[in-house]
Structure formats: C-alpha cells, structure tokens
C-alpha cells in the first residue's frame, strides 16, 4: 500500500488521489495508516469516519476527532447522528452491548431523541427499564404509537411475571442520562485580518491606485506591488476612486478592472483622460477576455496597457513597471 518511509502527509496525499478516483477502500486503508502514524490529525479522523464501512467504525473515528477538538460543532453533530444510526444498526444486528453503548451516548447527546429512547427500550435488560424509556418517548410525543404498543407489551409482561410497573415519571431516566456534555467554547475563528500599509519608506515610493470591486484582487495587487516598494491605495468603484484622487492627488499609475460596477473600467479611463490633472496618468486595464473587441475599446478609452483576467500577478507587474518606466520618477 505504501512505502515504509511514507509520512502521514504522503499517505494522506495518496488517499486524496484514491478518493478522487472513487476508490473508497484504498482511501480508507491509507487513512487508517495515516491516523496510526499521526493520531492528532482531527480532519483525517473526520475524513476516515466518512469512509468507514460500518457505523461503529465511523463513531470511533468521530469520537477521536471530537476528543481532539471538543469545540468542533460539525464533528459533534456528525457524531450525534452516527451514534444513533450506529446504535440502531447494531441493535438490528443483535450486537446488544454495542447498541447499548452507542444509544446511551446518542440520548445523552440529544435527550429529545424519540428514536434513541425507543431503541434503548428495545435493547435494555429488563421490562421495568424498558418501560421507563418508553414513558420518556411518550413524554416527548404522546401519540407515538410504537411507544404505546411497547408500554402495553411490557406492562403485560410485568403483570405476568408478578412485577410492578414503574410510575409514569421520567425524572429518574432524565437524571440517569443527564451525562455531562462538553460545553461549546468560543468559536476558534481563523480570521487573518490585519491592516496593511505598504511602501519601503526609504525613497519616494511610486503610488498606485487599484480600482477593482474584488477585495481579494485589490489586496493581492497591493501585496505584489509592495515587493517593488510601491504604495497602494484601493477603491472598489469609480466613485470611490475619484474621491481617492481628490483626497490624495493623482497617483503615478492606475490599475482598473474593466468590469467595475456602475461606471465600467473603460468609461473610468475616459474620465481620467478627460481630466487635466489625471490625463497623463498611465492606466493598466484588467479585462475579462483577451479579445480584439476589448483591445479596441481599451485603445479608444486611452488605456496604456491591458492584461487578461484571471490576473497573472507577474504579467500585471511587468505592465505596471513598463508604464512607470516611461514616466518620470516622483520627486517628493
């Protein structure tokens, strides 16, 4: 299956390839090996649970995942569902100890699970205990016909045996199954937000204005331009760009998306060319297609250079550098 020197990452990559090819048994075997080598990979346990060939195995994998990260609500929800379905499957397969263990955990997870209590009644030791669970079901749903039939059946069985049926109270069961559940902690948000101010600060930096509705594109252009020591201002549309220019003065170069909302990139470029303070500013246009029509539209609008989308940052910066090389360097 794998070479003796395979790392968990190698095994996971092979499992990924197998999963993409639809080979579940191979993916499962590789994941089992990977989790043996690295048992602290929570996502690998969750993945293994999804590929498990029995609900019992799935529960075991999910229990590992939840133990590693008790705050993972998705894993906890999956565990709840799988415990119940696994318990029912085990009960149907007459594996009573497994059924009891899984169902007990399922009703502890969700004390309002009618199905969970009903199946608990089916796999418990005594009619008295079964009646307690069935009354719990009826407390949740008085019209549950399976529970009603079950109560009749077990009461008759108890009478026959000379026993006494328990009172219709569920408090004992509630206490018995009020297992302590791990409380949800604060969400482990993985936001990576931070503010960014670019520029080398050693010599007058070239100032770029990036006009693009996509925040990601603006940030990635800022990130790439920062490598060249440029300062970047951002605007989401033509109006915001105009405000930027009014506040900060004309930039050394403008990078604009052709598909801006409202005034599009071509119209914006025409406005730049029509304004005496900005008419000399080079404009690099990012167009959706690399077609002749767009080139003609760009030339008519007065675009200095155009690059196709999706952006190739190196190509874009090449265009920016070429345009700036043709312009005099800033003096301030």
């Amino acid at each position: 299956m794998s070479s003796p020197t395979s790392t968990p990452t190698d095994l996971l990559r092979q499992a990924l390839t197998a999963a993409r090819a639809g080979d579940r048994p191979k993916a499962r075997a590789l994941l089992q090996e990977a989790t043996k080598l690295e048992p602290r990979n929570e996502a690998a346990w969750r993945w293994l649970a999804g590929l498990a060939d029995s609900p019992v195995d799935a529960v075991a994998a999910l229990e590992r995942a939840v133990a590693l990260n008790p705050n993972n609500d998705k894993a906890k929800a999956a565990l709840r569902e799988t415990r119940l379905s696994g318990g029912i499957a085990a009960a149907k397969a007459k594996d009573i100890p497994t059924a009891r263990r899984l169902l007990r955990a399922a009703v502890a997870d969700d004390p309002n699970s009618e199905q969970g209590w009903l199946w608990m009644a089916a796999v418990c030791d005594s009619p008295t205990e079964a009646l307690t669970y069935l009354h719990r079901v009826l407390a949740l749903n008085p019209s549950n016909s399976a529970a009603k039939k079950g109560v009749e059946y077990y009461q008759a069985k108890l009478k026959k045996a000379g026993g006494v049926a328990p009172a219709v109270s569920t408090s004992g069961v509630v206490q018995a199954f009020d297992a302590t559940r791990p409380s949800d902690g604060p969400g482990s948000g993985s936001g990576v937000g931070s503010s960014l101010r670019l520029g080398s600060g050693q010599q007058p930096a070239r100032r770029l204005l990036v006009v693009d509705e996509s925040r990601t594109n603006r940030k990635l252009i800022a990130m790439t331009a920062a490598g060249d020591g440029m300062k970047v201002a951002e605007a989401a549309d033509a109006t915001e760009a105009a405000h930027r220019i009014l506040e900060d003065g004309p930039p050394d170069l403008i990078v604009v998306d052709a598909a801006l909302p409202g005034t599009d990139g071509y119209e914006f470029c025409k406005m730049i060319r029509a304004n005496p303070t900005t008419k000399q500013v080079p404009v690099v246009l990012m167009a959706g297609r690399d077609g002749l029509r767009d080139k003609i539209r760009g030339a008519v609008a007065g675009v200095s250079a155009a690059v196709a989308k999706p952006i190739d940052p190196d190509e874009l910066m090449g265009a920016v550098r070429s345009c700036l090389a043709a312009e005099p360097a800033p003096t301030a």
Binding site: W47, S194, L220
Partner: protein
C-alpha cells in the same frame, strides 16, 4: 492564521531538516499571488449560481480551487516543523473531496429518482444543504492551506501582504457560500 497556533511536534522520520530562512520572499509571494488570482477568478464565477441547479458545476469549481492549493503545497518544500499543518491541510482537502464525490454520486442517481418521484408525486429531497456544506468544507480546506503557506514565511511581518489578501478572499468566499440561493 498565525505561526503560533500549532504546538511544536516532534519531527517525523524521513523529513528533511529545516532549511535556513529564505532571504528573498518574492518568489514565494509571487507563487501565492498567482494562486490567489486563480482562486478569486473561480470565486467570482460562482457568484449568482444556484446550489440546487448548479450543484455539479459549483462542486467542480470548488474542487478546482482546493486542488490548485494542493498542487502548490505539493510542489513546495516545507520545513519539518510544518508537517502537521501540511497533513491537516491535505486531510481537510480529503474531507471536501469525499463530500463532493458523495453528492455527485447522488446527483448521478438523481435523474432516475426524479422521474420516479415525479410519477409518485413524492417530494424530491434537495441536495442544496449538502452542497452548501461541501462548499464550506472547501473553504476549510483552503484555510488549512493558507495557514500552511503563511507559516512558510520567515516572519509575520513579511507575510502581512499575503495574510491580508488571503483573509479578504476567505471572507468573501464564506460570504458567497452563505448567500448562494437554493
């Protein structure tokens, strides 16, 4: 997404020792910018799609995004201390792929079932919630790779531009997935 989130783990056998921190981060920055440009292009194409009607298409796009990140991870050399983060990212990618393939298998069977249920006038269960769940898993996988990529920078200062851009992308992606109509 900081360098301090993962506790130190013992090095795995067979991994190369940590190389000296690279002095020039520009090639790495450029590779990440290229990846992010591609991901943003895919994300923008997903805007306006419907979870039910476009389920297959959306899942294909999300898979292309995750595999683009996986390709970059596979082609890049990471120091041994990032082995855990790398394995976590690949496992998250696997979780997404498993979910996406499960839905696709269901969609293949769906046509026959739709005809049957239409004949029996029964309600057709919607795949939309499962598709949204799978797209969220793709976001988790991308976040895993982004964390790994961030930690390859020699310092948090040198990673700031990338962190800013990656954060913006993830926020927009999650917002898009939350808002996709059924």
């Amino acid at each position: 997404m900081t360098a301090t989130e993962n506790p130190p783990r013992p090095d795995e056998p067979g991994r190369v020792p940590d190389p000296a921190p690279p002095l020039d981060t520009r090639p790495w920055q450029s590779a990440l910018a290229g990846l992010l440009a591609k991901l943003e292009h895919y994300r923008a194409e997903m805007v306006g799609r419907r979870l039910g009607a476009d389920a297959g298409w959306l899942l294909e796009r999300a898979e292309a995004m995750v595999l683009a990140a996986e390709d970059l991870a596979r082609e890049s050399a990471f120091p041994a201390k990032l082995a855990v983060a790398e394995a976590e990212a690949v496992a998250r990618a696997g979780l997404f792929v498993a979910a996406a393939h499960g839905i696709r298998d269901g969609l293949k069977r769906g046509l026959f079932r739709t005809v049957l249920t239409a004949l029996s006038r029964a309600a057709v269960p919607s795949a939309a919630p499962a598709v949204r769940h799978a797209l969220e898993a793709a976001g988790e996988a991308l976040n895993g790779y982004f964390t790994l990529f961030t930690e390859r920078y020699p310092s948090s200062l040198s990673a700031r531009g990338w962190v800013d851009a990656a954060s913006a992308f993830l926020a927009d992606y999650r917002q898009l997935v939350r808002g996709l109509p059924e």
